[in-house]
């Protein structure tokens, strides 16, 4: 509120950040600065995209009921992260995105990543996780008419996005190691196979178990109170 109070300035920022500043960062980082700075470029672009998404949502009018439901779902995601080995964050984010809307899906995914990292360790990976989980929720919301057709489509969506999430996080692990090379990436992917398998499996299991009862609960709330 104190940072961007002026609506004209806000409009300028909304146009310049995606079309000027982000491409400029990528350009400067890759061509002008002599050192290898893929890491910084990816970090900066991720943070800017997050800020853009979240402040973009702020413009829209959302009822307080929808906000409260989003925060309830976020809290459930975080509690679920205390379950050993299997984590339901992706499953709950996808369910929220489908039934409450893409905007809420993004908020739930991003904030669940942020808050649960307070318990399991905050680090430079936080913005990447926030953006990845947020986008999973956002796309679930955009695709919701298609996804609502069958439970198995939802399960497939959750599993595939979970795998993509793991593969992208592996790219990031390799960037951390300094420079990007195909061998290192392959090594990282192979090393992460047990993790990826457990992660995809837990997405699948939780979506199979939770998608129907949670869908019913959320639809009932929507019908009863007209959210």
């Amino acid at each position: 509120m104190i940072v961007i109070n002026n609506s004209g300035l806000r409009r300028v920022l909304r146009i310049t950040v995606p079309f000027v500043i982000i491409p400029l960062t990528v350009f400067l980082g890759t061509f002008i600065v002599p050192q290898k700075s893929y890491l910084f470029v990816s970090f900066a672009v991720t943070v800017m995209a997050l800020i853009l998404f979240i402040s973009g949502f702020d413009r829209k009018k959302t009822g307080s009921r929808r906000l409260v439901i989003s925060s309830v779902m976020t809290a459930l995601c975080i509690i679920g992260r205390f379950i050993p080995v299997f984590k339901p964050i992706t499953a709950l984010t996808v369910i929220t995105g489908i039934h409450i809307g893409g905007e809420s899906g993004f908020l739930v995914g991003a904030l669940a990543a942020l808050i649960s990292n307070f318990f399991s360790g905050q680090g430079p990976w936080t913005p990447f996780q926030m953006l990845a989980w947020g986008l999973i929720g956002l796309f679930a919301g955009l695709l919701s008419p298609f996804l609502k057709r069958s439970r198995w489509i939802i399960v497939a969506y959750g599993t595939v996005t979970g795998m993509i999430f793991s593969l992208i996080m592996d790219v990031w692990t390799v960037l951390w190691g300094g420079g990007f090379s195909a061998e290192l990436y392959l090594a990282a992917v192979v090393a992460a196979i047990p993790h990826t398998v457990v992660y995809s499996l837990s997405n699948m299991i939780f979506l199979i178990i939770l998608s129907k009862p949670f869908g019913e609960k959320l639809e009932r709330i929507k019908l009863k109170y007209g959210v």
Binding site: G29, Q35, F57, R65, A75, A110, G178
Partner: protein
């Protein structure tokens, strides 16, 4: 100047962005070393320095990162020895070490950051660009302990109703699922009431105020200006020279500009520590000696 912990959260956040950004952005082993030393000293000063588990984790990560690079990449001209006919070179070992320093120092900076910022301050920084996300954030934080209490209540009720058998795992799992389902419905229904109560009290009408008021004092402005000026110095000097690892290590010649860059990064990195020490000395000095 107040202690670093009491400074305005936006100034503190920007300071950490500068320091970690320089460490990640400018690939220079000397800068990485300075950053690592600064982060280590500050983490010892700011209070979580006795967390041995963290130091051990950082050490393991450091060794792993430093050793993986020479095993995978065989660039470089100075061959140290061979493993399975693969040359292990000095250059790639040093490259790995430099990367490991970067990784570990960023981890230390992040742990210092989360040690300085509590949820209230984070909410302030967060709320400055999105009040809505900040509201969801704070409500979710409040719900976590609340849900714990509620599920205890539900479990007690279910036990009283005689719905659990002793020593039956399947029954226990079924019971937990039922508990979770009841808690979710309860939370959603209560949430609607909370939302209605919020609207009744005027949520969304006019500006939102905060519980804690953080103001920009003169010293916060000084911190902000000082850290941005130093960061600009460091970046200006570092862009001028390039540290080459492959095929052979070529260190850039020390010039006045590069020395200025390193010294200003050293000062930047030590700002919080010096501040903390200064406050400590003042506290000792002002303490009554009766």
């Amino acid at each position: 100047m107040r202690t670093f912990k009491d400074s305005n959260p936006i100034a503190v956040t920007l300071y950490f962005l500068f320091v970690t950004g320089i460490t990640m952005f400018l690939f220079d082993p000397i800068l990485n070393g300075i950053s690592f030393l600064g982060a280590l000293i500050f983490s010892l000063v700011c209070g979580d320095g006795r967390d041995n588990k963290k130091h051990l984790l950082c050490l393991v990560l450091f060794v792993a990162t430093a050793l993986i690079n020479p095993l995978v990449s065989h660039n470089g001209v100075t061959v140290l020895f061979f493993i399975n006919d693969n040359p292990i070179t000095l250059e790639s070992l040093l490259y790995g070490c430099s990367n490991a320093f970067m990784l570990v120092s960023v981890l230390y900076w992040f742990s210092c950051f989360s040690c300085l910022m509590d949820s209230d301050k984070l909410l302030y920084v967060f709320g400055s660009f999105s009040p809505k996300a900040a509201l969801v954030f704070s409500m979710a934080l409040r719900y976590i302990p609340l849900f714990g209490d509620r599920s205890k209540k539900i479990r007690a009720t279910q036990k009283t109703m005689g719905l659990y058998k002793d020593g039956n795992i399947l029954d226990m799992i079924r019971g937990r699922v039922r508990e979770f389902s009841i808690m979710t419905t309860w939370a959603l229904e209560k949430g609607i009431i909370t939302a209605d109560s919020m609207s009744a009290r005027g949520y969304g009408q006019g500006r939102r105020t905060r519980f804690t008021n953080f103001r920009f004092y003169l010293c916060d402005v000084i911190l902000l200006i000082l850290s941005s000026v130093l960061a600009v110095f460091v970046i200006m000097s570092a862009v001028k020279h390039d540290f080459v690892f492959y095929p052979a290590i070529v260190a850039p010649k020390m010039s006045l500009i590069s020395v200025i860059g390193y010294v200003s990064y050293g000062v930047l990195v030590l700002i919080p520590t010096i501040n903390e020490w200064k406050e400590e000395i003042r506290w000792r000095y002002l303490r009554s000696k009766i």
